[in-house]
């Protein structure tokens, strides 16, 4: 396959970037999108040029590192996949592909396609944890009864890999799907109960502080989420927030 790539190049956080055009040839349809990027970078290095910076780690769809806004969609055209799970067979020979970083004030560009997602870390630090007994006689987790349905829902919420596709695709750059998944996975379980009110209040406060936009329920996040995190989580967080606002001191 021969492709034309239009890629956002930005040398650093405070430098003005722009779209640049590159050509790659002899790309195998069986390559992953990131392998195609590796081929491009190999070519750039051989030409003595600066390779394109992009985030990646596990390359098996579980770490949440790979980002990239490909042809106007987070992680490219396929549903329920990350960029490393996107293969070049999803494109046609001769295609022009636009590749941009996640766009959000809360995700500043570090370089090229690599953005700083530490705002997510700070939201987790604000309340995405549970108290555990560290006295040495830790209770057996199975000793606490959890309804199967709640366990399943908590697990579904916990599959969020924190990639930020929800923010990238949201017309408001809202982080509600991410934060609601992190609130839900703990709010649904008895282990999360001690910090239940403070957690949602603090995480939402931190989310707003980071400069994410507001949720207007367009539902784009749910569609683009590689892990299929449901909008039900956002409704649950809204309930949790309402409850905590009324009941907490």
């Amino acid at each position: 396959m021969n492709l034309t790539l239009k890629i956002w190049r930005q040398a650093g956080p405070s430098v003005i970037g722009k779209m640049e055009t590159y050509k790659v040839s002899d790309i195998s349809p069986d390559m992953s999108f990131l392998e195609m990027m590796d081929v491009l970078n190999d070519q750039l290095i051989r030409d003595g040029k600066d390779p394109v910076a992009f985030d990646h780690d596990c390359r098996e769809g579980i770490c949440g590192m790979c980002s990239m806004y490909i042809n106007g969609q987070a992680h490219g055209p396929n549903r329920g996949t990350t960029t490393c799970q996107l293969h070049m067979r999803s494109f046609k020979d001769g295609d022009t592909i636009y590749i941009e970083p996640w766009r959000a004030a809360a995700f500043p560009v570090i370089k090229d396609l690599s953005v700083d997602r530490s705002s997510f870390d700070r939201i987790i630090q604000a309340g995405g944890y549970v108290s555990v007994n560290t006295s040495g006689n830790t209770q057996d987790a199975n000793a606490i009864p959890v309804p199967k349905e709640n366990a399943d829902k908590a697990f579904d919420a916990a599959t969020c890999i924190g990639c930020g596709a929800c923010v990238a695709t949201c017309t408001n750059s809202s982080a509600m799907l991410f934060v609601s998944a992190k609130v839900s996975q703990l709010a649904l379980l008895p282990q999360g109960d001690p910090e239940r009110e403070l957690r949602v209040l603090r995480m939402v406060e931190q989310m707003d502080k980071e400069g994410f936009g507001n949720c207007s329920n367009t539902g784009a996040c749910e569609v683009e989420c590689p892990k299929g995190i449901s909008l039900e989580n956002i409704a649950r967080m809204n309930r949790e927030y309402l409850r905590a606002s009324v009941t907490s001191e």
Binding site: W8, G72, Q73, Y98, G213, S216, V223
Partner: protein
């Protein structure tokens, strides 16, 4: 936004019920509509509701503007190539634009009738179908009919079309807004959400359509 939005949906139903009386022709229709208009401007319970409605419109507008400004700020650099239609409806992404159109219509509409009823010099109805009235009524019915009558208002056609167009904007606003309000309030349930979404779609088509028919009906029946 959700709570005030849903309250304004209730208001739409009440407003529509009042407007549908314009389909009653002749002297009975005139008397009933004017008595209704008097009731709506003097009854204490209605007054409380109307203040709640003014508050809701103002809150919904101000909060909407604040949220829209924050949302614009949240993405300072736009995508060179974006394909939002792949994952969300047009209405859901344009609530601020649609809301602005609706607000502009509310201002025009209130200056056309509401301000006339309260402070305008409007005709007075002194006799009904059963003879002279005990107390004369402000004749809002004649004002409304005249507004959409090409013989009395040279802009009647433009007014009827503007009113109908505004209902299209409201329809799109409701298409997303009705179900979105429930989600914002935390109501998302496997059993009820499909019902809410279905009801929202029906509401967003039927209510604005019925509203829109009235000015068109008044124009075309009087133009003929």
């Amino acid at each position: 936004m959700g709570a005030t939005g849903l309250f304004l949906c209730l208001f739409l139903v009440g407003h529509l019920a009042g407007n549908l009386q314009l389909f009653i022709g002749g002297a009975e229709g005139q008397l009933q509509f004017n008595e209704y208009a008097k009731f709506m401007t003097t009854n204490p319970a209605v007054k409380i509701l109307s203040y709640l409605t003014y508050f809701s419109i103002l809150f919904h507008t101000v909060d909407g503007i604040l949220l829209a400004v924050e949302n614009r700020k949240a993405r300072p650099v736009k995508y060179a190539y974006n394909k939002p239609s792949a994952n969300s409806s047009w209405a859901s992404r344009n609530m601020a634009v649609l809301g602005t159109l609706v607000l502009a219509f509310i201002v025009v509409h209130m200056s056309n009738f509401w301000a006339q009823m309260h402070w305008g010099e409007i005709p007075v109805q002194i006799s009904g179908p059963d003879g002279t009235l005990d107390e004369p009524l402000k004749d809002l019915h004649t004002v409304v009919l005249g507004f959409f009558n090409p013989a009395e208002n040279s802009l009647a056609l433009a007014a009827a079309l503007l009113y109908a167009f505004a209902m299209v904007a409201i329809a799109f606003h409701l298409w997303h807004g009705f179900q979105s309000a429930w989600q914002s309030l935390g109501v998302n349930h496997p059993r009820y959400t499909p019902l809410i979404k279905g009801a929202g779609k029906a509401f967003s088509v039927v209510i604005p359509a019925l509203f829109a028919i009235i000015p068109l009906y008044l124009y075309f029946t009087q133009a003929a």
